[in-house]
C-alpha cells in the first residue's frame, strides 16, 4: 500500500483532539491549559484539510486559514489576560482563581 487511507488522518485528528481535552481537564497551570486549547485547534485544522482533500475543494483550507487567524488573535488576547491575572494574584494555578465561588 502506497497510499494512506483517509480515515487514518481523521483518527489522528481525533487522538490529538482527545489529548488536547485531557490537558484541558487535568492540567493546573493556566498556560498549559492554553496550550492544550491550541492543540485542540490544530487537531481540528487537520480534519478540515483532510476533508478538503476528500472533496477536492479549497474551502477546507480557507477554513483552516481563518481558524489560524482567530487562534492567533485569541492567543494574543488570552495571554494578555493571563498577564493581568498574574499581576493581581501572583499565581498561575487555575484552582486558585475561584473568586466566583460563594
Amino acid at each position: 500500500m502506497t497510499q494512506v487511507p483517509i480515515s487514518w488522518f481523521l483518527t489522528l485528528s481525533a487522538v490529538l483532539f482527545a489529548l488536547g481535552v485531557a490537558g484541558f481537564l487535568f492540567r493546573r497551570s493556566i498556560i498549559t491549559v492554553f496550550m492544550s486549547i491550541e492543540l485542540m485547534l490544530n487537531a481540528v485544522n487537520l480534519s478540515f484539510v483532510t476533508f478538503a482533500y476528500e472533496y477536492k475543494q479549497v474551502n477546507g483550507h480557507l477554513f483552516t486559514f481563518f481558524v489560524m487567524v482567530v487562534a492567533a488573535a485569541e492567543a494574543a488576547v488570552g495571554l494578555a489576560i493571563i498577564l493581568t491575572v498574574f499581576k493581581n494574584r501572583a499565581t498561575l494555578n487555575i484552582d486558585d482563581m475561584d473568586s466566583m465561588k460563594d
Binding site: 481535552v21 484541558f24 475561584d98 466566583m100
Partner: protein, 619 residues
C-alpha cells in the same frame, strides 16, 4: 293595569330612605316610608276594583329576562284571586304595622342612633320583595321575591347589630332558609327538566300528563323550600331566635307575611300537588306534627315574644294541614285571619314591652290591664280569635281546616283539636300572666302607648273579630281551586270549640285563680318540663349533629387539609421544588474553572451522542 306600580312604591321608599334618610328628619322619613306603603295599598285597591271578577289570571309581561336556546324566562306579573287576597294582606297589614312602627321605633332617631331611617328603608325593601313574590307569574320571579324577603328578614332580625345574639339570630335565619332554598332550587331545576319552562300557566296546564313520581318529587322538593321559609319541622329553628329583632319586624315578617310565603307557594302549586297525593300527605303530616310540637313548647316559655313565636310556628302548621288535605282555600283563609290576630298579638306585646321599658319576661309582668287598657282590650280580641271562640275570625278559619282534615283523615282532626286546646291554653297563660293578678315587676312609669301605636291595634282587633265575615276567603277562592265537599258537622265543631274553651279555663285556673297550682304541677313533672322548656333540645341536637361536623369538616378537612395542605402545598411546593432544583443546579457554578471545563466536555460528548443517534436514525 300597571301591576308593577304595586312593588315599585316600596322600592322607591327603600332607595330614598336608604340613600338619603340619614339627613332627613323623622317626619320626612315617615312621609317616604309610610307614603310608599300607603300608595302601594291604594294601588292594590284600584287594581282589584279594576280587575273586576277575575275568573282567569291577568298577566302583564315586562321584559324577557333569560333567553337561552329554547328556554325563556320572562319577568311577568300576574294577578288572580289568590294574588288579590295576598296583596291585600301584605299591603294592608303592612301599612298598619308601618304606622305602628312610627311610635315603637321613635327613640331610634337622633344623634346617637342611626336606626330610624335604616329600619324603615329595610321594611320598605321587604315590602318590595314580598310583593314581587306574590305577583310573580313564574317560579323564578317568585324565587327572587323569596330570596329577597329572606335578605330583608336577615337585615331586620340583626337590626340591633351591636348585640351578638341579634346578629347570630340573623345568620341563623338566613342560613336555615338557605337550606330550604336549596330544596326550592332543586325543585325548579326539576320543573325545567320536566316541563321546559317555569311559567305557572305553562306548568300547571300540563301537570296532568306528567308521571306521578316526577310530580311527587317536585312537590317534596318544593316542600323543603316551604319548610324553610314557613318554619315547619325540621327547619323551624330560626323563627324563635328571630324574636331578637324589633317587635314590628316580628309582627310583619314572622307572623303575617314572609312566613306565609311557603303556604302561598304551596297553594299556588296546587295543580302539581293534586296529582301527587303522596306529597300532599307529607305536607299534612308535617303540618300537624309541627302544630302540635310547637304548641307544646309554647306552653313552657317565659318570654312573651317567644310564646307567640312558637304560636306562629304552630299556626303555620295548621295552614299546611289545610293545604295538605286538599282544602287549599282553608289554608289561605287561616293565613288571612292569622295575619290579623297574630300581628295584633305581636304588636300588642310590643306595646306591653314598650310600656314596661323593655321588659319581656312574663314572670315580671302582671296586673297590667288597668294600666294599659287599650293594649289590653285589643289583645283580648286577638286572644279570643286565636283560641277559636265562636264567631271570631280564627274560629271560622281553624274550623274550616279541622273539618276538612276530618274528611281526609280523622286522626289529623283529633291531633289538631288537641293542639287547639293547647293553643288556647298557652295564649291564655300569657294573657293571664301579663294582664291579671298583681304586678310583679319593678317598673314605675307604666304608660299607655301613643295613639300612633294603639290605632293600628284597634284596627287589627276589629279585623280579628269580624274578619271572618268581612272576608269569606274560601268562597272567594272557590273558582280557583279544585272543589271540596263542604261538610257542616256541628258535633265536630262543638268538640273543637270545647277544647278551646277548656284550654282557656285551665289557664284561668292555673294562673289567675290558683297561681301556686302551676308551680306545683311543674315540679311534679320536672323532667318533662325541662325537656319542653328547652324546646326538646332541638337546637342542641342540630348543633351537635349538623353544625359541629360541618364546621369541623370545614376547618380541619377543607381548610387545613385541602386549602392549606393541598392547594397551598402545591403552590408552595412548586416554589420549594424550584428552589430545590435551583439549589442543586447552583452547585454547577462552583467557581472552579476546571469543573467548568469538565462540564464543557460533558456537554459536547452528550451532543455528539445525540447527533450520532439522530444521524444513525436518519440513515
Amino acid at each position: 293595569m300597571q301591576l308593577w306600580l304595586i312593588p315599585i312604591f316600596p322600592l322607591a321608599g327603600f332607595l330614598i330612605n336608604g340613600l338619603f334618610g340619614k339627613r332627613f328628619s323623622k317626619g320626612l322619613v315617615n312621609v317616604f316610608a309610610i307614603g310608599a306603603v300607603l300608595l302601594s295599598f291604594a294601588w292594590v285597591l284600584k287594581t282589584i276594583s279594576g280587575l273586576g271578577d277575575l275568573t282567569s289570571p291577568y298577566t302583564e309581561h315586562y321584559f324577557t329576562w333569560i333567553q337561552s336556546g329554547a328556554f325563556t324566562i320572562n319577568w311577568d306579573f300576574s294577578a288572580d284571586r289568590l294574588t288579590e287576597v295576598m296583596l291585600l294582606v301584605v299591603t294592608g297589614v303592612g301599612l298598619l304595622i308601618h304606622i305602628y312602627s312610627i311610635g315603637y321605633m321613635a327613640h331610634e332617631h337622633g344623634p346617637h342612633h342611626g336606626g330610624y331611617y335604616r329600619f324603615f328603608s329595610y321594611m320598605n325593601l321587604f315590602m318590595f320583595f314580598m310583593l314581587v313574590l306574590v305577583l310573580g307569574a313564574n317560579y323564578l320571579v317568585l324565587f327572587v321575591g323569596w330570596e329577597g324577603v329572606g335578605l330583608s328578614s336577615y337585615l331586620l332580625i340583626g337590626f340591633y347589630f351591636t348585640k351578638k345574639f341579634a346578629t347570630d339570630a340573623g345568620n341563623k335565619a338566613f342560613i336555615v332558609n338557605r337550606i330550604g332554598d336549596f330544596g326550592f332550587s332543586l325543585a325548579m331545576f326539576y320543573i325545567v327538566k320536566t316541563f321546559g319552562t317555569l311559567d305557572f300557566n305553562s306548568v300547571f296546564s300540563r301537570a296532568a300528563g306528567i308521571p306521578e313520581s316526577t310530580l311527587t318529587l317536585i312537590g317534596l322538593l318544593l316542600l323543603v323550600g316551604a319548610t324553610g321559609k314557613s318554619a315547619q319541622i325540621p327547619l323551624y329553628v330560626w323563627l324563635p331566635d328571630a324574636m331578637a329583632g324589633p317587635t314590628p319586624v316580628s309582627a310583619l315578617i314572622h307572623a303575617a307575611t314572609m312566613v306565609t310565603a311557603g303556604v302561598y307557594m304551596t297553594a299556588r302549586s296546587w295543580p302539581i300537588y293534586t296529582h301527587a297525593p303522596a306529597a300532599l300527605e307529607t305536607i299534612a303530616v308535617i303540618g300537624i306534627a309541627t302544630a302540635f310540637f310547637a304548641a307544646t313548647i309554647g306552653m313552657a316559655q317565659n318570654d312573651i315574644k317567644k310564646v307567640f313565636a312558637y304560636s306562629t310556628v304552630s299556626q303555620l302548621g295548621y295552614m299546611f294541614v289545610g293545604v295538605g288535605v286538599g282544602a287549599f282555600s282553608t289554608g289561605i283563609y287561616h293565613l288571612v285571619t292569622h295575619a290579623f290576630f297574630k300581628a295584633l298579638l305581636f304588636l300588642g306585646s310590643g306595646a306591653v314591652i314598650h310600656s314596661l321599658s323593655g321588659e319581656q319576661d312574663l314572670r315580671n309582668m302582671g296586673g297590667l290591664r288597668t294600666k294599659i287598657p287599650w293594649t289590653f282590650w285589643t289583645m283580648v280580641c286577638a286572644w279570643i280569635a286565636i283560641s277559636g271562640v265562636p264567631l271570631t275570625s280564627g274560629f271560622f278559619s281553624k274550623d274550616a281546616i279541622l273539618l276538612a282534615a276530618y274528611q281526609h283523615a280523622p286522626w289529623i282532626y283529633w291531633v289538631g283539636t288537641i293542639t287547639a286546646g293547647i293553643t288556647a291554653f298557652y295564649v291564655s297563660r300569657a294573657m293571664f300572666l301579663t294582664f291579671f293578678g298583681s304586678y310583679r315587676g319593678h317598673e314605675h312609669h307604666i304608660h299607655e302607648s301613643p295613639a300612633v301605636m294603639t290605632l293600628p291595634l284597634a284596627v287589627l282587633a276589629l279585623l280579628s273579630l269580624a274578619g271572618g265575615y268581612l272576608f269569606p276567603v274560601p268562597a272567594f277562592l272557590s273558582n280557583l281551586f279544585p272543589p271540596m265537599e263542604e261538610v257542616e258537622n256541628s258535633s265536630l265543631m262543638a268538640i273543637s270549640v270545647a277544647f278551646g274553651l277548656g284550654g282557656i279555663a285551665l289557664a284561668y285556673l292555673m294562673y289567675a285563680v290558683k297561681p301556686a297550682l302551676a308551680d306545683s304541677f311543674v315540679s311534679g313533672i320536672k323532667g318533662l318540663y325541662t325537656l319542653v322548656y328547652n324546646k326538646y333540645f332541638v337546637d342542641e341536637i342540630y348543633d351537635a349533629t349538623v353544625v359541629k361536623p360541618l364546621v369541623g369538616g370545614s376547618r380541619w378537612v377543607l381548610w387545613r387539609g385541602v386549602d392549606v395542605g393541598i392547594i397551598d402545598g402545591l403552590a408552595n411546593g412548586i416554589a420549594t421544588a424550584s428552589r430545590g432544583v435551583g439549589g442543586v443546579l447552583r452547585l454547577v457554578q462552583s467557581g472552579n474553572i476546571r469543573s467548568y471545563a469538565a462540564w464543557v466536555v460533558f456537554g459536547s460528548v452528550a451532543l455528539m451522542v445525540a447527533l450520532g443517534m439522530l444521524a444513525g436514525g436518519a440513515r
